[in-house]
């Protein structure tokens, strides 16, 4: 399928990150259009487009905006979630480095829609270049009158600031992000109250992902119908897919929602490197349940993946060829979640670390027969028993690994070693 470019259309242009080129390409027209409408009309237009949250949850963006109470007398806020850290995900960084004005315009429109006068773009601290480019772009937009007080004579004021993170995956969770934005340790809050009611500094707050917001100017300019026509029902638009691992051409690709996974792997990415056999695919970032090679004839959209027990997540596709040890892969991911658990909830803090230790010992040849049921039981005791979804994000993929590749786990225990080769070379080169 041909690559449909909306968000990435300007990525390869010279100085794509500067205001001048952005405006020449029709930039900030969506913002002007929004200012000529009422906030309710803007929300209706975004609602009509089936724009679902690209951070991973797939929640309809327009609906999220409509949850912000109209009659509250507290300042409202927009937080842009640019804390991109889900293993396998690398899309928002491209937008921020190569087309930062698209995000700023989308965020400004969102502020207008929900009645927020201030937006914070929470960027993961490691993304120095993204931070520098956003700060430059915000200064340009302010200078040109697209941000600041009384924007374009409309009486509307929107201020925007970059807020750097400092290295904590958990801050991608919306309430942890809010805590961190307030200058605290990134520990998720109990919901309800939801951020739309009590969020940043106690005010109603919307948290939207970078990719989600970057579609918004296009939706205002070209309409919901255009947007929805690009994907299956309830899954409008294109999607940025980041493909990593064992394909011939890894990278970031913008494709219509609902593109077949098999087509992404074999057409877009040129197939599996060295023409080896495919073993497994993680379809949407490390938290999404793994698919076997027999499951790749699936449409890459929120509902189709949910139907087969996985998730579109962030669209970060990780490809494992036949030389990969899935036990090692699962152990590596569990190690990540154990490292990133904030420690607030016992099932996550203890359970995820336990899962990690059990997987390490299976991979290291010290697995016990009872370890596989034990893993599944720990996963059951984590999932749904914590404040935020970090525990689930470990339990779901680990369960899928054990269930779908059980024979390989059993062989590791039986043979008392990694059956895919010695410990450190088990990665398949």
């Amino acid at each position: 399928m041909a690559e449909e470019k909306v968000l990435s259309a300007r990525f390869l242009k010279k100085d794509s990150h500067r205001l001048q080129g952005y405006v020449k390409d029709g930039g900030y027209e969506g913002w002007k259009k929004a200012l000529s409408l009422t906030p309710e009309q803007v929300i209706e237009r975004v609602k009509a487009a089936s724009l679902r949250g690209r951070g991973g949850a797939g929640f309809p963006a327009g609906m999220k905006w409509s949850f912000v109470p109209k009659t509250v007398n507290k300042p409202k806020y927009l937080c842009v979630n640019a804390d991109e850290g889900e293993p396998g995900t690398f899309k928002d960084r491209y937008i921020m480095e190569l087309d930062p004005h698209a995000l700023i315009e989308g965020a400004a429109i969102a502020c207008f829609a929900i009645g927020a006068a201030v937006a914070y773009i929470y960027v993961r601290g490691e993304f120095k270049k993204s931070i520098a480019r956003l700060e430059q772009a915000i200064a340009e937009a302010r200078e040109a009158g697209f941000l600041g007080m009384n924007i374009l004579g409309s009486g509307v004021s929107v201020e925007m600031w970059v807020h750097p993170g400092a290295g904590a995956y958990i801050c991608g969770e919306e309430t942890a992000l809010i805590e961190s934005n307030e200058g605290h340790r990134g520990m998720p809050r109990i919901k309800p109250p939801f951020p739309a009611v009590v969020g940043l500094f106690g005010g109603p707050t919307v948290v939207n992902n970078v990719e989600t917001l970057s579609y918004v100017p296009h939706i205002l300019n070209r309409g919901a119908e255009w947007f929805n026509a690009m994907g299956p029902e309830k899954n409008g638009g294109t999607k940025l897919f980041g493909v990593s691992g064992h394909v011939k051409r890894p990278g970031l690709y913008e494709l219509p929602m609902g593109t077949r996974l098999s087509s992404i792997l074999y057409d877009t990415c040129g197939g599996i490197r060295k023409d080896r056999k495919l073993k497994a695919v993680i379809p949407g970032g490390s938290s999404t349940p793994v698919l076997t090679a027999d499951e790749i004839d699936v449409a890459m959209d929120f509902d189709s993946l949910a139907k087969i027990g996985s998730m579109l997540g962030s669209g970060g596709i990780i490809v494992l060829d036949e030389t990969t040890c899935v036990v090692r892969a699962a152990a590596r991911l569990a190690h990540f979640y154990a490292h990133e658990s904030c420690g607030q909830c016992t099932p996550c803090r203890e359970g995820v670390a336990w899962v990690s230790r059990v997987l390490e010992r299976i991979e290291g040849g010290k697995g016990r027969e009872e370890d596989l049921p034990l893993l599944l039981s720990i996963c059951d005791n984590i999932q749904g028993h914590t404040i935020c979804p970090l525990g689930d994000a470990c339990a779901m993929p680990i369960r899928a690994f054990v269930q779908k590749f059980r024979a390989e786990f059993e062989a590791h225990v039986r043979e008392a070693c990694c059956t895919m080769g010695p410990y450190v070379t088990g990665w398949g080169r």
Binding site: G125, F127, K128, A166, S180, G183, I318
Partner: protein
Amino acid sequence: MSTQTKRREQGEDAVRLRPETEQRVMELLKRYPVAEAALIPVLHLVQDELDWLPVAALDRVAELLSLPRVRVYGVVSFYSMFRREKAGRFRLEICTNLSCSLMGATHLSEHLCQKLGLRPGQTTADGLFTVEEVECLGACGCAPVMLVNGEFHENLDPAKLDELLDALRAEAKEGAHHG
């Protein structure tokens, strides 16, 4: 070790920040309705100036933001980018998460450590290099990936890594000449 040297080593001596840094802190405070919200950006600023966060620097930040010191210590200990120990001149942070490992990152890390004669988390005796294995850096399509003092180096292999180390050593020598 004299008490004075020890205090300096442990970063307990009072810290005087550059006037520009303190000026930037005041500007950052204007972005938020409450001062404590500026804590993480302020800590970044201070770390950028000092290269790490000695305890005296944390105390100065607490003072600047009118926060109890424990609030600052608590935040610093939560986030992995804040360094409570001095690192080498070049910090090599190599990602070993799944996508990078699938492309050989664990081998690359071993190669690096062997060449420098250390284990992840350690610094070379000459104080030039610190190696850390880190979690996903969000550049998986260009794996394996390593940060050098925060700058991304992508699509690495052992040969490129060797070249990079040579270039960094040359840079250090050059600096020594001029410095």
